[in-house]
Subunit: 220 residues, 2 copies
């Protein structure tokens, strides 16, 4: 379908080939935990952040805040944060599942050349509160769409992204010395992947199966 | 960059042209509030839901649940829910901003032929809790990435999506009679757009400006 654009802009032609390749991108976008250590160009990282900022946001609040974690001591503290939380999670697993959990690789924190902590500025006045009076969590959801945009844009460049959530968010905020009203949404490991997979790591490892989508659809 | 894929799958060629068109998709993905009433084919809706289910999810929990809202009485109740919440939001605005708010079109609930309420199944055991012990909100964030995936896939087909958040989520859950442990993440209006825009509606209307991304980036 084509429609005349306002203001004389050309509406792009999202043709069948693009739709098919976008489908492939959704399929091949994986959570990457194994990275090569070769650095990414600064300009590439800047491009990815600029694309992330094109994400939708409630009331046009644009609440995404990005912390490039570069300092060696801070990175070590993040790894310790993860190790502590992961050990606690493992301790709650039982029997065969504990063994399976222990064998999973759940972060690329040792190797990923670029690491970005993504926060939501909870106290922002940008957007004047529009759209988030009854569902204030949509502010954080806006940040999630920015993370997902960055992820897809990275993958389209052959770059892998891994989202680490096995972290104590309060301790991480202290480690990174961010403003009080920033809440952690995601910690991203970014770099060239060691390997490419069509199937999720947790499916491949036998941790969980793909669910039947039909079970999650109701008509009302 | 190309890497040999595992299991003999062909890694897709995400070439420069695809990257450029993906950039255009991020730019042209807009929150649509003005829809034509012509229906969407059922198969198109099914395709969009299948693509949404390719989104990342914490611990491979796949917690997205989709409610196709079709019943006329339920749709009327959703519109009333919005009208009530929107009136309350307007009442909190003052002066020139109240006038501006009153003139905004904030939902396409009257016309959108397809309406989908997207929920998170909070009590799901799928994924065995992996990755969400310290950040349980990542379960809902997984649903947000499914919404965003659907949005991008729709736009690539010329279909518009509008995310309505000016709703009382508890009342909506009652209207739609969903299980107790489902929490509302998004209410989506979907259909052919009346118009195409490169700039967000809230920018065009003077509600809010684009922020300087550099202000939201720290190095640590």
């Amino acid at each position: 379908m084509t429609l005349p654009a306002q203001h004389g802009e050309m509406v792009p032609d999202f043709d069948q080939k693009f739709q098919d390749t976008l489908h492939a991108l959704f399929l091949w976008r994986r959570d990457v935990r194994r990275f090569r250590r070769s650095p990414l160009p600064d300009a590439t990282v800047a491009d990815l952040l600029a694309l992330a900022a094109l994400a939708p946001s409630v009331g046009y609040s644009q609440p995404w805040r990005f912390v490039l974690v570069e300092d060696a001591a801070r990175r070590a503290a993040v790894r310790e944060n993860f190790a502590r939380c992961n050990a606690e999670a493992l301790a709650e697993q039982r029997g065969a599942r504990a063994k399976l959990y222990a064998g999973l690789k759940l972060s690329g924190l040792e190797d990923a050349p670029v690491q970005i902590a993504v926060f939501c500025e909870e106290g922002t006045h940008v957007g004047h509160g529009l759209g988030r009076r009854t569902m204030p969590e949509t502010l954080r959801y806006s940040v999630v769409t920015a993370v997902h945009t960055l992820w897809l844009a990275a993958r389209a460049r052959g770059i892998g992204v891994g989202w680490v959530s096995i972290l104590d968010p309060e301790a991480l905020s202290k480690t990174l010395d961010v403003p009080e009203d920033w809440s952690l949404v995601a910690y991203l490991c970014i770099g060239w992947p060691e390997e490419e997979h069509l199937d999720p790591e947790l499916l491949r490892s036998g941790w969980e199966n793909r669910q039947d989508l039909a079970d999650g659809i109701l008509r009302r």
